[in-house]
Amino acid sequence: MLNLSLKQLSQQLREKAFSSEELTRFFLDRIRKYNDSLNAFITIDEDTSIAMAKQADLKIASGNQGTFTGIPIAQKDIFCADGWKTTCGSKMLENFVAPYNATVVQNFNDAGAINLGKTNMDEFAMGSSNETSYFGAVKNPWNLEYVPGGSSGGSASAVAARLAPAATGTDTGGSIRQPASLCGFTGLKPTYGLVSRYGMIAFASSLDQAGPMAPSAEDCAMMLNVMASHDIKDSTSLPHPKEDYLAPLDNSIKGLRIGMPKEFFGEGLDSEVQKIIEGAINEYKKMGAEIVEISLPNSELAIPVYYVIAPAEASSNLSRYDGVRYGYRTKEYDDLMDMYFKTRQEGFGDEVKRRILIGTYVLSAGYYDAYYLKAQKIRQLISNDFSQAFQKCDVIMGPSAPSAAFKSGEKKEDPLAMYLQDIYTISTNLAGLPAMSIPAGFTKGLPVGLQLIGNHFSEGHLLNIAHQFQLNSDWHRKTPKEID
């Protein structure tokens, strides 16, 4: 059960090689065994998970199962799940039990999946190392002294250590791809609007997008089949026709034009990582792809633009955590203002407060035009860069992150160094494009991910390109030695 793909799990459940209950217990046992050292999960609810598994077994017994029936997956703790504690990694929501299901959770429930638990994450998804979580840092299973990346660090650690066959994540500036790169598995951030944001606790609404995190591209395709849906409860959800993302996996990629943006291979990129990425792209060449040099001239503006737009939206999105209706409220206060101040002072961590301050500042009267409006204009330029690049190539490839995983605590006190972790991932969020990270090699025993960026709604093609690579490599099948 440990290393079976989602497709194999589905098949063996159907063939009754094992029951969903057995499978679920198997992973719950692993979580119990390793969570103390990895801290990948915030909430486990064995009774509920087992009850869901029993339901799935009944379905399988009656022959009514779908492809996902009985498969356990972990949910990032940013998704509201009815009856589950949903903390978003924050003290503010430490005891918040969601009264409804996010559309992503509902889709998995409808497909018969089992909720294994809620995974740890950077507080309100703000962070690249999973060290900002109120519930403690998450560890990288490849080396427990290293960070798993963030913000979907709990999901990443869980998938890499096989505490779950797969997990959900969200990606606002790289929060699926960077941890996928640092933990050595496959992660996909879909086109903005493909997966519903309803019930996914908002960080930066115009950038947030949920996606699958799993060992292989094939696993991700199977998950995306469940996750992608047009949702009238999310006005930014796009009415894209339903696709079967498994269908194009085996298509030939002969003649594929791969764009290599020169801006992604310059200063700041670890030379070992660069070698691995160039090696992987070379593999594609051997498979019949051609390489095109492209330019994304406004790339260097992506981080400054992101750190205006994302905090601006966040400062407003997080205003609802005021201690009035739910969540944390300070114990003692003199009046309303005092209650607001203390509640937010005590309820939010430093990184969240830093971004609320930045966001409030850039939206203030007198600064709005110089920051927010200008950032929106540059965002359009960044988007145009990609449109032009995609006239010359079918897919853009480069590193997912500038380096392999770094040590816990190394960048914690240096926000700017931390922000640079997302230097290659952020621009796709700004442009709303789909992008993946797939395992491409190791440096000093730590995984390195190759990033694939496609045009809008090209998830099928991206998964196809990734799958073809994975047919010719086994980086995505490696498992960390520290975890048996």
Binding site: F79, C80, T86, C88, L93, F96, A98, P99, Y100, A102, R197, Y198, G199, M200, I201, A202, A204, S205, S206, I232, K233, D234, S235, T236, A312, E313, S315, S316, L318, S319, R320, D322, V324, R325, Y326, L336, Y340, T360, L363, S364, A365, Y368, Y372
Partner: protein
Amino acid sequence: MDWDIVIGIETHVQLKTQTKIFSGASTSFGNEANSQACLVSLAYPGVLPVLNHEAVNCAIKFGLAVDAKINKKSIFARKNYFYPDLPKGYQISQFELPIVGEGKLSIPLNDGYKDIRILRAHLEEDAGKSSHGILQGKSGIDLNRAGTPLLEIVTEPDMSSAAEAVAYAKKLHDLVQWIGICDGNMQEGNFRCDVNVSVKKKGSTTLGTRREIKNLNSFKFIKQAIDFEVNWQIETIEDGGKIQQSTILFNPDNGETKAMRSKEEANDYRYFPDPDLLPLVVSEDHIHNIKQSLPELPGEMQKRFEIDLGLSEYDASELTNNKDVADYFMNLIKRGVSAKLSANWILVNLFSRLNDADISINESPIGFDQLADLIKKIEDQTISNNAAKKIFDALWDSPAGTVDSLIDELGLKQISNDSEIEGLIDKVLNDNGAMIEEYKSGKDKAFNALVGQVMKASRGKANPSQVNEMLKKKLSN
């Protein structure tokens, strides 16, 4: 010194939709606190707004009714501030690009009409309600109203007296009900005005500093608040003081206005486009369809009444201030009675009784069917105008009666039968030979006296014009 008064008004009109502007929760009034607060109203983590297009249609209707530009693309923005009855910590409103652009509303004044320019009208959500003093030592929050759709209608500073401001507010109040986008209930806060007031030296082209009187929910309060505020501002300036831009509240108990916060203390609302909502795009076709669905507008109807029905401008205008009055009038003339008589009966007799009783025309005990019956009896000369008034009063007091039965009961049937009248005339002439002589010698007064005698003989029931005519004929023989 003489002063000019400058007034602009922002009106919050609650739109008559079944559900809230960004969620499926009900908008009905007066229910148990928080019974209509869904997860979106409560701003739970992860919930998202979904626009109710009924509210958009209401806004378009209004835009069309004031001849305004409808913006094909408008943007919802977040207005950020903290308050316990504002669950998200921001209000979704429209800022830079509202759905309704510039338009105008013509208001009736004593000496004619005046166009008030509408600057814009935008959609937004209402906040909830905080109540203090119900719970011991705590404040209560009721979020039933949170998310109720509002249309905020903003004028240019075109009004120059309290009377004009009230005329505008009344006209707007009538119009939004006329086109069916608001129930107009001011007590429940469904139509409330923020009034911006400033004064400047007569003829000066520079505007004075304005103060904004918040949340006036009756026409009387609008008048009282402006009167007080204008006096206060003039006195302050004449005493050498300066007006500070500020937000003020009107206290109906003492009729005074009082500053709430000055501009320096004003919130920085940090407006920015709401990333949860796409730009609102409306098509030409959709606007066209809404235009088709609009009822005939008051201005058009007034013109039609003047041209087709021959009513005076005043009557036509009075009949088209209010949709219910216009409907009553149209129903009346549909029953085949004279438009002029109908207008007269509504505007004089019916209005005076409605005013005395302080009720609306919909609550009138006399329905249009009964009034039509009554007017028909005047037209076919069954009763005189005076008799009709008596029957009208009797009907008002006991609406179950019919016009026919009351004519009989009160014995008010007019005598219009020629031979009957001739009999009466003959009798009077026989008895009043002296008067005939006087008349024939040129004394016109004698004729009136003879008419009076005939009317007296008929106990007031003879048709007076018939008596006149026949008597003249007799005497000339």
